[in-house]
Amino acid sequence: MAIVEVRDLRKEFGGTAAVDGINLVTEEGEYLVLLGPSGCGKTTLLRLLAGLERPTGGDVVIGGEVVTDLPPRARKIAMVFQSYALYPHKTVRKNIVFPLAAAHVPKSEWAAKVEWAAGILGIQRLLDRRPRELSGGERQRVALARAMVREPQVFLFDEPLSNLDAKLRTSARDELKEFQRRVGITTVYVTHDQVEAMGLGDRIAVLNAGQIQQIGTPEEIYSNPATTFVATFVGAPPMNIIRTDGKLVGFRPENLLPLEAVGSRDDQLVCDFEISRVENLGSDRYVYGSIPALDPEAKVIAKLPSTLTVVARPDTREKYAVELDKLRYFDPDTGERVAPDQRTRTP
């Protein structure tokens, strides 16, 4: 269990910076998610942590030791790739002992370690199979067993759920979280799926264009996004951002509700909502429209839970309201979060 730290880390590929000056420190035993769209640098950052890429500048520190110039095998880490990278020509058992052989662990100790790892993941009966005979979920478990058998300081995951069927993903996600909670090893996890990030992370680092936009708990990221990018990337549907009075104002769709449902109060912003379209998705209704009085061009979405039976019909105009303390303000030029009437930097 160790802390991972990254200082002024920079990686350039042919002139463009994939990772552009990142500073980051994990907490011991935490599950840190690197979240962002394709090309934001999250995988590059992970590979820099692993030692599969050498940085153009900056340092990587793992467990108090500067590992910047060390190859992966010297870093005492374990990594799980998107494809799980099981050795196709070896049995499951041989896959799991592979890191032990590399570390010159005496053969007499292998059986015990394999049993321990296989036991935690429940794959004892698979030990003599080959990777091509396994299902997606089984492969993940084998990859995890192989990762933990050497008792690394840090786990690194590169979008391991992306190759699984959508149905399988939720249960696999659950297994992953349980697994990490059990072994308690510091984990850095890359994904582009913000639902996955919110579900798995103790903290989430949102990246864009090689830089960290915000690090915080899922709660913090969701309720208090530091930039418009974070605000619109996290949450589905994304936060509504409208431009009014030379400011950017944001509020989450679930906070925009029909006035008749929430009742009139003092701390509200009431507006005329022009409804253009309604989608009924079962558990929620998405009401698409705009607020002409504030920003005629912005598309606004209201998310109504199914428990709310208020009528919403296309091509009508209704009064909708948002609680004032649910409004978030952003600088129209930089996209950064500002206090309602001041310009201060976000923490």
Binding site: P71, R73, A85, L86, P99, A101
Partner: protein
């Protein structure tokens, strides 16, 4: 395979046309070998009388020609020499081209492919251009008239081809399996040996086979460097040394050719798919 005639029911006319073309090419390519095989089993009297259908046997087919080939000519020496040269050349080639090809596939970034093409172009430098200076070099080194002169020179064309073939196979190994091995505790070379090489084993086999048979193709180096029949390879020994005086013992000559041609063709057929895969850098899955 994409072909319209394979997907739609073929007309009778189309069928006949196809089989006619097939027959034409089969004859075009195979007739010389048919003639050579028939010749092999003919007695002198049968063979050297004109006027009758040459494809028929006027006397019973005989194995004598094959027996005399092995008992009265240096043919066995030729075979042994060719095999020894082939094996040693394959060894040298593998030792040099496996690391080189891996380096081009994984360690040289953007310059990998251009450099690989450069190496491949070396394969196109003809032996008929190099044999003259090389014969001088061989003499200076004291290797003239030995099979080792050929062992020295053959890697000059087997290495480029091997590097090119292996490149295709190395590139087909998923990168993350290699990186997984590095994270799991091996150096790049360690990962190469323990994970990559087992995965490209079919490619290695293919390279061994093609390198070996390629050494048997050479004629001019063997002709230029070697004069004693005890040191000759099949390629140069058969056309130049199986002639006694002015007399061509054609049946034995044809036997000597077919004895080599058939096994080599069989082996090529077994490995053709893999060869194409490597040759096209994995672009075509055989």
């Amino acid at each position: 395979m994409s072909s319209s005639s394979a997907r739609r029911p073929r007309t009778i006319r189309g069928s006949i046309g196809l089989y006619l073309i097939v027959f034409f090419f089969a004859v075009l390519c195979g007739f010389p070998f048919l003639w050579a095989t028939i010749t092999t089993f003919k007695t002198n009297q049968d063979l050297y009388t004109t006027g009758h259908n040459p494809f028929a046997f006027t006397q019973a087919p005989t194995l004598d020609n094959i027996t005399t080939l092995f008992t009265t000519t240096p043919y066995l020496h030729f075979i042994i020499n060719s095999v020894v040269i082939g094996i040693v050349t394959v060894g040298i080639t593998l030792v040099l081209s496996v690391p080189a090809s891996y380096a081009l596939a994984r360690l040289t970034g953007r310059w990998g492919l251009p450099m690989a093409i450069g190496i491949f172009v070396v394969y196109l430098v003809p032996p008929t251009l190099l044999f003259l200076p090389l014969s001088r070099v061989i003499t200076v080194l004291g290797l003239q008239d030995t099979i080792w002169s050929l062992v020295l020179v053959y890697p000059g064309f087997t290495i480029p081809l091997s590097v090119w073939l292996l490149l295709g196979f190395f590139r087909s190994v998923p990168r993350d399996v290699e990186e997984q091995a590095q994270v799991d505790g091996y150096s790049k070379v360690g990962a190469l040996v323990r994970v990559v090489l087992p995965l490209v084993a079919p490619g290695l086999f293919t390279v061994v086979v093609f390198t070996f048979t390629l050494t048997m193709q050479d004629f001019i180096y063997a002709l230029a460097f070697v004069s004693s029949s005890s040191q000759m390879t099949i390629s140069v020994g058969v056309p130049t040394n199986l002639v006694r005086g002015d007399v061509f013992y054609w049946q034995s000559l044809m036997a000597s050719a077919m004895i080599v041609a058939i096994p080599v063709a069989v082996i090529y057929n077994l490995f053709l798919r893999k060869f194409i895969q490597g040759f096209t850098l994995g672009a075509v899955k055989g």
